[in-house]
């Protein structure tokens, strides 16, 4: 498993066998509170970095998720349809949101590493 990278919008991405696994950070889920619904993207959707790709809804509000990189959605986390609270309980594990085939891996270089992100959120 590769290093996890973070965006300033609190998305994370990590590469697993050349595919990027994307979700929101543990810090972000704490800020959002109880998540009751996740609107997942369509498999096959082509994204540019910064495109709105999913919506995460807490009791209080809806928050957009922006793709941290460009590429094509290859898989979505269907488990969230029945159990959106996985994003709260395991944001960076079972609470992943979609997988993306990256079109430009150099975009990862612009993102924060774990240590930078930790200081960014503290």
């Amino acid at each position: 498993m590769s290093e996890t990278k973070y965006s300033t919008d609190h998305e994370y991405i990590r590469l697993e066998a050349e595919v990027g696994v994307v979700g929101i950070s543990t810090y972000a889920q704490e800020q959002l509170g109880d998540i009751v619904y996740v609107e997942l993207p369509n498999v096959g959707a082509k994204l540019s970095k910064g495109d709105e790709v999913a919506v995460i809804e807490s009791v209080k509000a809806a928050s957009e998720l922006y793709s941290p990189v460009s590429g094509e959605v290859v898989e979505v986390n269907e488990a969230l349809n029945d159990e959106p609270a996985l994003v709260n309980s395991d944001a960076q594990g079972g609470g992943w949101i979609f997988k993306i085939s990256l079109s430009d891996k150099s975009e990862l270089d612009e993102m924060m590493d774990e240590a930078t992100y930790t200081s960014h959120t503290s």
Partner: protein, 375 residues
């Protein structure tokens, strides 16, 4: 990016909110907790046990300087409730109306248990305006003041009464929408059996200097936890209760808002209040739109501002409050729809992010109210 916080008021419980992990937000000019541990947890705790809410931002208005009948008569010109029929200690929900029958605010009127005053609790955002209207209407005949030295804390939930009973026998006397003076844990309070959650519970008016200690003592009970504004909003939505500025405003009359009970039966016949002409005509001719409760399919919340459309996609209404019900585990909402389509069981279509969501009109409240109406 955030504005200087110098104009944001702190309640007497501010430090206690911080100490309990309250996530503070600016709400109507007050720094108040949106949540502590989490909205859903606080919501469910309120339904199962007892939660403490700081509602000190609400306006507490006190009218004195006359006998009850003369004060009530003066108020009935401004407020369409049957105020004259209140017995000492009794409370009633009502509204302030404009000439067009639109709602300026909703409020609760209480006839003082000692019969020395009439108390009115109003919304935070509207309290200055309400006070000005009432002051003008009472025209110097009585004394009216907007209380500045009192906090208001609500203890809500099925275990609220057993908590209050530990400190005062008044919980054995009060039923829903009655009130009285009580010494609670050494502090002089004015306590009512009322609230905004659909549960049995109390609202306690207490001097600012005593509020912090009283809250701490109540929180020492293992059944009592703090709950914030987020849970307050989701609880009132499940309970079918309107939120001013969202579900009602100056363009909406009480009949359309499905709160006709805010207008006393005697008053509907006799009139004599601001807005009566319009209300009378609405009562005779019916309303065009009506607030209804809707449960939506799936899990996606349908929130304030979402359009309601017909099968051709034409806008026919809109959602004024909506969220995900932690108890029903379904999206619930209040929506205004044409009266002709407002029947229980009818289907409605809402648009969320360009997509259609199907819902069904249901009877409100969404969950049974749990008020104590007799001992």
């Amino acid at each position: 990016m955030s504005k200087p916080e110098e104009n944001i008021k702190q309640t007497s419980l501010y430090n206690l909110h911080i100490a309990n992990g309250g996530r503070m937000v600016d709400f109507c000019g007050y720094s108040l907790p949106i949540q502590y541990s989490g909205i859903v947890k606080e919501h469910i705790h309120t339904r199962n046990s007892a939660s403490l809410f700081d509602v000190s931002h609400m306006g507490q208005i006190i009218i004195t300087g006359g006998d009850f009948v003369s004060m009530a008569k003066a108020l009935e010109v401004l407020i369409p409730a049957d105020i004259l029929s209140l017995k000492p200690s009794e409370m009633r929900y009502s509204v302030l109306l404009n000439e067009g029958g639109g709602i300026i605010d909703d409020l609760i009127i209480t006839r003082d248990a000692k019969d020395l005053a009439i108390f009115i609790v109003v919304n935070a955002a509207t309290k200055e305006n309400d006070f000005a209207i009432l002051q003008k209407g009472l025209a110097g005949d009585f004394d009216i003041k907007l209380e500045m030295g009192k906090s208001l804390i609500a203890l809500q939930g099925p275990k609220a009464a057993q908590v209050i009973k530990k400190y005062s026998s008044i919980a054995n006397e009060l039923v829903f929408m009655t009130s009285g003076y009580a010494n609670i844990a050494g502090f002089e309070t004015y306590i009512s059996r009322s609230g905004y959650t659909g549960e049995d519970g109390f609202e306690i008016s207490v001097a600012d200097e005593d509020a912090l200690e009283l809250a701490k003592i109540l929180l020492e009970n293992e059944d009592v936890e703090f709950a914030g504004l987020g849970a307050r909003d989701s609880l009132r939505l499940e309970a079918g209760l309107c939120l001013y500025g969202h579900d009602m405003n100056e363009e909406i009359d009480p009949i359309s808002a499905s709160i006709i009970f805010a207008i006393g039966k005697r008053r509907r016949e006799e009139g004599g209040f601001v807005g009566f002409e319009k209300i009378s005509s609405i009562l005779a001719n019916g309303v065009e739109q009506k607030r209804v409760g809707v449960i939506f399919d799936g899990r996606m919340p349908v929130r304030e501002g979402a359009e309601i459309v017909d099968e051709q996609g034409q806008k026919i209404g809109h959602v004024t409050s909506g969220s995900f019900s932690p108890i029903l585990e379904k999206p619930i909402a209040f929506a205004y729809v044409p009266k002709t389509l407002s029947k229980i069981g009818n289907s409605v279509i809402a648009i969320v992010r360009g997509k259609q969501v199907l819902g069904t009109i249901v009877k409100m409240p969404f969950i049974a109210q749990n008020y104590l109406r007799s001992h």
